[in-house]
């Protein structure tokens, strides 16, 4: 039987130690990359709409009145750290560390993901109090089409973390679950990439050109 090469798909590979899981993961991971890239195109469209809508404020509140950079900074730090912890969970899995270690890093990632969401929702509420609601202007519609879409992805990621954590406890480290952890880590890193786009284009871009 031909051995799978030790590095055969982007992202952290399970490698030879988990031979069967590694082979099973290769194909589905490629499929998952196709999904991520189509998701990227979707986000790209929302970015394009936001860029064309920056000036369409219709006399409503603009970026300078609405954006709170301190909160955005906190959210950035939280999301970046969670990207590290999900990577550490993945490494704990790859190197057969005790399962409690994997669950620990999962837990830390989940807490960080939820804190991110809390901060983001508080931001939206503060914006709404200043009259920044989606139907106020084209700019705000575009903003609420893009940023909460990312938030929705993070929520789904949190749900995925919880479900996968429970499955790991119940079934142990089966091949299927290992390959799911690989995909979850990819998904989470991908969300961090999108967030960099959001702070650069939505927040800083909005403040510069809005």
């Amino acid at each position: 039987m031909k051995r799978a090469p030790s590095h055969s798909y982007p992202g952290l590979n399970l490698g030879r130690r988990h031979e069967s899981a590694h082979k099973a993961t290769e194909v589905v991971t490629f499929g998952f990359w196709v999904f991520l890239m189509s998701d990227l195109v979707y986000f790209g469209l929302m970015f394009a709409i936001y860029i064309t809508m920056i000036d369409a404020q219709a006399g409503g509140p603009g970026p300078h009145e609405l954006f709170d950079l301190k909160s955005v900074f906190a959210q950035t730090m939280i999301l970046l750290t969670s990207s590290l912890t999900v990577g550490l969970a993945m490494l704990a899995l790859k190197y057969n560390l005790p399962r409690s270690r994997i669950v620990l890093w999962f837990g830390v990632t989940l807490v960080l993901g939820l804190s991110f969401l809390v901060l983001e929702i508080r931001d939206f509420m503060a914006m709404a109090e200043k009259g920044g609601i989606p139907q106020r202007s084209g700019f705000l519609s575009a903003f609420y089409g893009l940023v909460p879409l990312h938030g929705l992805h993070v929520s789904v990621g949190c749900l995925w973390l919880i479900v996968l954590g429970i499955q790991l406890r119940v079934f142990g480290l089966t091949d299927l679950l290992m390959s799911r952890v690989v995909r979850l880590a990819l998904f989470w890193h991908f969300l961090d990439l999108i967030w960099i786009g959001i702070i650069t284009i939505v927040y800083f871009g909005g403040l510069t050109y809005g």
């Binding site: 090469p5 055969s8 990227l40 195109v41 970015f47 064309t52 403040l207």
Partner: protein, 108 residues
């Protein structure tokens, strides 16, 4: 066992380097915004270049995308999607911007 823990250390270091790099770039972006204000295009250019650098750091250190031969197909997928994305975004911004100028909603 020894080789394993050696590899583990190396891969963990890779994540920590990626994290440290992203952290520095993020701090730099917010520091620039805080010190110089976010009004001028020069400042925004610096911020977007740092953002681009952080994208690359995370792609390499977190998502492990590189030019290794074995992951070439997937790299092709990523590059092609990026191409589609750029066509969509730049095309939209170009056409809509041009339209806005012709409709006189933008100053020339």
């Amino acid at each position: 066992m020894d080789k394993r823990s050696e590899m583990h250390r190396r891969e963990r270091r890779r994540y920590v380097i990626g994290y440290g790099g992203s952290l520095l770039l993020t701090l730099a972006v917010f520091l620039i915004a805080y010190t110089y204000g976010i009004e001028t295009k020069g400042v925004y250019l610096a911020i977007s270049l740092l953002g681009l650098a952080q994208l690359i750091v995370q792609l390499v250190y977190f998502l492990h995308i590189d030019r290794r031969r074995s992951s070439r197909e997937d790299l092709d997928l990523v590059l092609f999607s990026t191409l589609v994305l750029l066509i969509i975004i730049l095309g939209t911004v170009w056409i809509m911007g041009n339209l806005a100028v012709r409709m006189h909603t933008y100053p020339m």
